[in-house]
């Protein structure tokens, strides 16, 4: 099972409201956060844009691909866009599986592929001071 979403709202401490399989032995939650510097400059926030429609489709495609490849139970992802302050989450991904190895591999591949093909861009940042 795959679910994906893109939002301009805050997604910190996001809870995916999806039931677990009774034979789920591993759950892995990844949170990608906005760091306090970008290209050596101290920043206050990062601004993300996305290609609405395609970004969701592409996230879902990659999600399905890793489910098939690693036999995990499910992958759920929410990506925030717009202006994201430092320290807040840009992405939260949940993977559930029977065993932990598959969860680790699926999460790692999902993030690697996302960073190659999903049409989301950091288009600027708000710097501190000045």
């Amino acid at each position: 099972m795959v679910s994906v979403a893109i939002t301009e709202d805050r997604i910190d401490d996001w809870i995916f409201d999806v039931p677990r399989n009774p034979d789920a032995g591993a759950e892995l939650l990844f949170t990608g956060l906005v760091r306090d510097s970008e290209k050596g400059e101290h920043i206050r926030a990062l601004v993300y844009e996305h290609y609405a429609g395609m970004a969701e489709k592409e996230l879902e495609r990659i999600g399905r691909e890793v489910i098939g490849r690693f036999g995990i139970h499910g992958l759920h992802c929410i990506h925030r866009v717009g202006s994201i302050p430092v320290g807040e989450a840009a992405i939260v991904v949940l993977v559930r599986s029977k065993h932990r190895d598959a969860a680790f591999k699926a999460m790692s591949r999902f993030m690697d592929e996302l960073k190659k093909t999903v049409p989301v861009w950091k288009i600027g940042f708000e710097s501190t001071g000045g």
Binding site: G32, Y48, E49, H50, Y51, G53, M54, A55, K57, H79, A90, I91, M111, L114, K115, K116, T117, V118, P119, V120, W121, K122, I123
Partner: protein, 85 residues
């Protein structure tokens, strides 16, 4: 000798491509029966800075397979290197 028929597609511009072309999207006329590779060449001719810029061209919100034919009304998008997550 009939003139070759043209079709019209929409091209969306994101990130650095939008900055370069100074627009969110535009219409483009291309010869009927053009493959995605032919369209990419046409797009690269729009600006000297686009010529060697790394980007992918999406077709109807997917990355098309090689040789895919572009049709009237299709939505294309210039996808510069992504940086999500």
């Amino acid at each position: 000798m009939s003139r070759r028929k043209t079709i019209t597609v929409t091209v969306k511009c994101f990130s650095s491509a939008r900055e370069l072309l100074a627009r969110d999207e535009f219409q483009m006329d291309i010869p009927e029966g053009s493959t995605i590779e032919v369209v990419e060449q046409e797009v690269r001719k729009l600006s000297s800075q686009l010529t060697n810029m790394p980007f992918m061209l999406a077709l109807n919100m997917e990355y098309p397979a090689e040789g895919t034919l572009v049709k009237e009304g299709d939505e294309l998008a210039i996808i510069p290197p992504v940086s999500g997550g």
